[in-house]
């Protein structure tokens, strides 16, 4: 096994680094670094820059604008993006709807929706979860009833990330009431400008607005917006769950967080003391460094293994569990490193916040609390462990 990068790979890294230096807005990067909320415009600008460079959807087929990157190139891109504090791309269109359309969509659907995803015309969001039905889609209650050329959709979606910015939502809806609960589900595309669609914000634990409830009341959706066959929604959902877990281990983000924490810990306080010289803190940070260094190799190994097996399988569960563990541990330590200065509530009341600690750390506590979601969403740790127990151990 050769762990060093080839000259071609190093050249690619230089290209990515140059792109980030030239085309990523410094204001956006600062917001990412400081954990501040990005505006819709910030995200759109980064999206547009990537689109212009042809790097927006590297894993799409070349005919649709894909970049044909190797897994190692993908890895290098992720590393450099995190290093430059680039925003995380909103995945719903590029990484979630697109693979579904490639696999289950009609040619017309692909030709219509995919270019609009690329050029930023349509911002997508996801309508899976409902109140009272999280990982258990069998409890899905939103109903779509056929009425001529339309479905009439009624129900409520929740945890809809960035739904406040979205033009379209892809939804799982119930199209058959009887039979096994998972059989009667369909995958439907809904224009959010349709009458009857209402988005209400959910305030999160740390005070931020990132997710929403989406209420659907007598929403009329053309039958042509169905992807796959009627009642094929469960198959599509499962496909998405195991496929295309983009940068699931978040190694780039963790590396960036580690470096920033180390810099802070090495910086002498006014008294001249450095946090890194506290052996208990240094031991915490060193343990995480070891886990992260191992994680980098685990990521490469499992991504390659998944690639050669066709689609990422159970490996993605390992990457998610351990990747999230490392990120949450870093968030914990970053908050801890500030001591009592982590306490101020991020708000506009006062820039007392900025006055106490450097701006790139003022959000440490908020980020710690917000990132507790990582072990809950996208298949909770518990669900991942159930999957692994069954698949790898035959238990």
């Amino acid at each position: 096994m050769d762990l060093s990068f080839t000259p071609e790979e190093e050249a690619f890294r230089a290209e990515v680094r140059a792109f980030m230096a030239d085309d990523l807005s410094p204001e956006t990067a600062a917001k990412v670094r400081e954990g501040r909320t990005l505006s819709k415009r910030d995200m759109e600008d980064y999206h547009a820059a990537l689109y212009a460079r042809g790097w927006l959807a590297p894993s799409w087929p070349a005919a649709y604008g894909g970049a044909g990157w190797t897994p190692v190139q993908k890895h290098i891109f992720d590393e450099e993006a995190a290093r430059a504090s680039a925003p995380r791309l909103v995945p719903f269109g590029i990484a979630m709807l697109a693979p579904v359309l490639f696999k289950f969509g009609t040619q017309e659907q692909r030709d219509y929706y995919l270019p609009r995803i690329l050029d930023g015309t349509d911002w997508w969001c996801q309508g899976y979860s409902e109140p009272g039905a999280g990982s258990d889609l069998a409890g899905l209650k939103t109903r779509a009833v056929r009425d001529g050329d339309h479905y009439i959709v009624n129900g409520q979606k929740t945890w809809t990330t960035l739904g406040q910015h979205a033009d379209w939502i892809f939804c799982l809806v119930r199209t058959k009431a009887d039979g096994k609960p998972q059989e009667g589900i369909s995958f439907l595309l809904i224009d959010m400008k349709t009458p009857g669609v209402e988005v209400r914000p959910i305030r999160l634990i740390e005070g931020g607005h990132e997710v929403n409830e989406v209420f659907l009341t007598d929403v009329r959706v053309p039958v042509g917006n169905l992807v796959g066959g009627e009642n094929q929604g469960w198959t599509i959902a499962k496909y998405l769950l195991t496929h295309e877990r983009n940068n699931i281990a978040g190694v780039g983000f963790s590396t960036q967080a580690f470096e920033s924490l180390l810099t802070h810990a090495r910086h002498p306080r006014r008294s001249g003391r450095r946090l890194i010289d506290d052996p208990l803190f240094a031991a915490r940070l060193a343990r995480i460094e070891v886990d992260l260094e191992a994680m980098k190799i685990t990521n490469l190994r499992l991504v390659v293994a998944g690639q050669s097996a066709g689609a990422p399988g159970v490996e993605s569960s390992i990457l998610k569990i351990k990747g999230v563990e490392v990120r949450q541990a870093l968030n914990d330590l970053a908050r801890r490193a500030l001591g009592p200065a982590a306490a101020p509530f991020p708000s506009e009341d006062l820039d007392g916040n900025a006055a106490i600690v450097p701006a790139d750390q003022a959000g440490n506590a908020a980020e710690y609390f917000n990132n507790r979601k990582m072990s809950i969403y996208g298949g909770s740790n518990e669900i991942q462990k159930n999957i692994l127990a069954k698949a790898m151990l035959g238990l």
């Binding site: 306080r269 006014r270 908050r335 801890r336 101020p344 007392g352 006055a355 710690y368």
Partner: protein, 342 residues
């Protein structure tokens, strides 16, 4: 008795919905609730009879703060405890504080310093200059007790709020704090050599925070157990998952240990073992509280990520309480020092 009436008062007057509002906007607490707490004697319980109170022992402090923690009460009782302890040590009159006529806050640590020997505020000719950071209960305080450095010695001073620049803000886990900036602020010297009194107040505060954490843990656990029983997935309560059962039982065991160490520390207040026992207590409670918070969130799932769910606020308090008056590592160092001393 006090514990019961306090718990009743808080159950009536400090419901989660109200708290979510008052704890995050100026004045960061409820003046009505504060008045009710004062009236029922919650502050008097923190001071002994010789100094105008009717309590003051370790168990009195633990009792009050466990009740406050269980109800997630954002009222500034901690600064009152610290201040009362210092006033009594200085031979000053704690009466107005206990009666609720004056609210005090204590300015201890400074920006980017977390130890007493990093205090840089100076007293010069009856005037104080320096900046105290994250002063709990600072917003709305009438008086500040300020710890200043005089060579190797710490001194204690009283400053009127009107003589200081006070920058208030909410804390992420609710309640108010402030930056207190002193620019040759006129001050009254209370103690010229206050090192021991300050350490004693810190000990009392750490015990109080540990007991508050204990109360919070018990409530967070109860919320979690309820949720495990009620929430159904794949056709059965999620609490029927053995993995969750075992993890919940581990929390029960750890909380039992946290309660024990609070009892131990409370019983050692006023003895030679006070400081080290309190450090054991704050260390263990800090460690367990974070575990309880993270597990309560994880077992609730998505709902715990929302502002509307009371468990999310308990979780924030349980995590952030560790950062107050020395975190788990800070206090572990003190326990270690005891082992290393011959």
């Amino acid at each position: 008795m006090l514990a019961d009436s306090l718990s009743r008062l808080l159950a009536d007057r400090c419901d989660p919905a109200l708290r979510m509002k008052v704890a995050y906007a100026a004045p960061y607490h409820s003046p009505e609730l504060w008045a009710a707490l004062v009236e029922m004697g919650a502050l008097h319980a923190l001071v002994d009879e010789d100094h105008g109170g009717f309590g003051g022992a370790g168990f009195d402090i633990a009792t009050v703060f466990e009740a406050l923690g269980a109800a997630l009460c954002p009222e500034p009782v901690l600064p009152a405890l610290l201040a009362a302890r210092l006033l009594v040590a200085a031979g000053a009159d704690a009466g107005p504080l206990l009666a609720g006529d004056l609210r005090y806050a204590v300015g201890l640590f400074e920006m980017d310093g977390t130890a007493l020997d990093e205090i840089e505020t100076t007293a010069d000719g009856g005037r104080l200059t320096g900046r105290k950071s994250v002063v709990y209960g600072g917003p709305g305080a009438d008086r500040f007790l300020i710890v200043a450095r005089d060579g190797a010695r710490l001194s204690l001073h009283e400053v009127a709020a009107s003589d200081a620049q006070v920058l208030p803000y909410a804390m992420i886990d609710g309640g108010g704090a402030a930056e207190v900036i002193l620019d040759a602020a006129p001050a009254r010297l209370l103690m010229a050599d206050a090192g021991a009194a300050v350490q004693d107040a810190l000990d009392a505060g750490a015990l109080a925070l540990s007991a508050e954490a204990l109360g919070g843990m018990e409530t967070a656990l109860a919320l979690t157990v309820d949720y495990l029983k009620q929430r159904r997935q794949f056709g059965r309560p999620i609490g029927s998952n053995q993995a969750l059962q075992h993890r919940t039982v581990e929390l029960v065991t750890e909380i039992a240990q946290a309660r024990s160490i609070v009892i131990l520390a409370a019983s050692r207040m006023g003895t030679a073992d006070q400081s080290r026992s309190v450090s054991m207590c704050k260390h263990l409670c800090g460690r367990v509280a974070q575990r309880v918070a993270e597990e309560a969130i994880q077992m609730h799932g998505g709902i715990a990520m929302t502002w509307e769910a009371p468990v999310s606020h308990y979780a924030k308090r349980l995590v952030m309480i560790d950062a107050q008056l020395g975190d788990a590592d800070h206090h572990l160092h003190r326990v270690m020092a005891g082992l290393q001393a011959v």
